[in-house]
């Protein structure tokens, strides 16, 4: 794994799915206010209608931004692992570069929700004694390899807290 890698392309589908999901939830909230407006007494109706519209507008804006950013996020989301450290890079306009030495890794958590399971992906969380960072999706086999590698190296480079 000695090269800079990108997340699997499938993660983009997951992110899009998440965007639809977020939109759906906000849409339901907005719809709930609309239904309340229909049932509410006359003097409350304009306020409720406005709230419902504002939530819908926010939902649409968030939806568009999330969808638009999927490609950007994926393009500029890379990681690099060698026998010394885990490196994560995010973003182009606002760049972040995170280094976690393998010797500081306390444990690695693999997480898989129903959506990730669809695409056979795992979220990998690298935990240290002070905070954690995550790789939001890796193919199951790749995630397992990574976990094995980090744990093997961590055992060798044990540094006690």
């Amino acid at each position: 794994m000695n090269k800079v890698e990108k997340l699997p392309a499938d993660i983009k589908k997951i992110w899009r799915l998440n965007a639809y999901f977020d939109f759906f939830i906000l849409f339901v909230v907005s719809a709930a206010f609309y239904i309340w407006k229909i049932l509410a007494p006359k003097n409350m109706q304009p306020v409720l209608f406005r709230i419902s519209l504002i939530i819908l507008a926010i939902a649409i804006v968030i939806f568009i931004i999330e969808l638009a950013l999927v490609q950007y996020r994926w393009n500029f989301w890379t990681f690099y692992i060698d026998e010394r450290q885990v490196e994560l890079h995010h973003g182009y306009f606002f760049r972040k570069q995170i280094v976690i030495p393998i010797a500081r890794v306390q444990n690695v958590t693999l997480k898989q929700g129903p959506i990730l399971r669809l695409k056979d992906l795992h979220k990998v969380i690298v935990v240290t004694a002070a905070g954690s960072d995550e790789i939001s999706g890796l193919k199951t086999s790749q995630a397992n390899d990574l976990k094995e590698l980090i744990m093997k190296l961590a055992k060798e480079a044990r540094n006690d807290l």
Binding site: Y92, F93, R95, V99, I100, P101, A130, G131, L161
Partner: protein
Amino acid sequence: MTSKPKHLHFAALLFFLYDMIKNALIPFIAGVFGAMAGGAKKYMFWVILAGVLLILGATLLKYVYYTYQLLDDEIVVKYGWIVKKVNHVPYDRIQNVTTNQWFFLKPFGLEELEIETAGRSDGPEVKLRAVPDSLKQEINDLRKSRPVEVEETVSDIKEVEPSSNANTYMISWHDLLKFSFTSPAFLTGFLVVLGLYGKVSNSINKSVYDGVAKQASHLGVLLIVALIVVVLILFYLGATLVLIAQYYHFKLTEENGQFVMERGFFQKKVTTITMDRVQAVMVKQTWLRSFLHIVTVQLVIVSNSKKDDSEKDIIVMPVIVEGQVNDFIRQFFPKVPVDIIESNTPVKRTMYYDLRNATYFALITAAIIISAFHSIVWLAVVLIILELLFWYPPAFLRAKRDHVQVLNDDFLMIRVNKILTKQTYFVPRESIQIIEKQQSVWLEKKHFAHLTVNCRSGNSKREIKVRYQREEEVLNAFDWYKGLVPTPK
């Protein structure tokens, strides 16, 4: 050397009883009132008796089932009578040992002993409410007799001349007063009371409140101001007295890489920590103290404290003159290369960025204030002046203070500004868990970047972040951490 399971001293019953009463008081009172409201006055005596018996019985059972045992390589604590719990703490996992001795237990040679590990539990892993004060020494001996770590074997060799290389520092009355009177701690206490007052005044009947307000207006504004000042002074004196009692006879001893801090008047607190458990050394200077040129030295440690960042640090030097702090660090932390620290001049562009950001926030806040209070001009003006004071001085100080420098192979110096407080961290490389560089495209063009360093502190993390630093300095620290650069000097 193995001992049998032992019970705590009988005095522990007192503490257990106190805890139990504290926990049971509110349900108990509620129960009594419930019974009264239910009209069951004749059973009142029996209800109270049952409650008291329950508390006494539970306390006694808790005591009977609470034992500790020192084994060769671990301490075992057993407790609980419904759910039995057994806690094993290996000696080489111990982070810090603290003892608290109330003045009334001193004649009996008893104290409370707490042991903390790096685990993330709510309180200390082991808490023995009343044990003989020789136990701590026993545990320390057991810890030392297991040379699991290289450092500890080294310290064993040094033990040929034990007391001669012991470093000590003892606070003088003058310093203690200086420390206590310049502490901003009273402000937090004051804010808590203000918050309580807010809650109380909400619940007070409005007519009563209006009546009082009317009377108050008769008294005149001057008197009210005087009253507020008096209350503030009382708070200040109260907090100062508490601090004096807490740091009374503060004494720091360093021997063979082990630090022992002793302090306290009513309750004597002794904390022991080995040097290799220390996560970072921090020199802190609050705003008030910066005028007096005095600073505080603290240790960032692993513990189970959930308190605020700087509150959970262990103070190793309550107050010292700025010019002598390097001598102090040289004496007690010879590994920290304080001599290499370069004095840096603030970078103009950093100043520009910080003040620009402050301007954004100030403008937004001003807009909100004006839109909310434009009808009351004087109030809007006062609020705007306050918000300017809130945004600009910290930004200015941050630009002036934020700095990062690689000292040598092992130590990084990071200086940050928290509102008005200057904090200088000396972080050993091993205790940095994560390092992070942030840089936007625009900053890259100007060769500037942010740097964040994560350390363990208490039972969570501490992020130490410097913003708008020269890229070369940030990269230097980054490469130093990754082990790419051998040594700058």
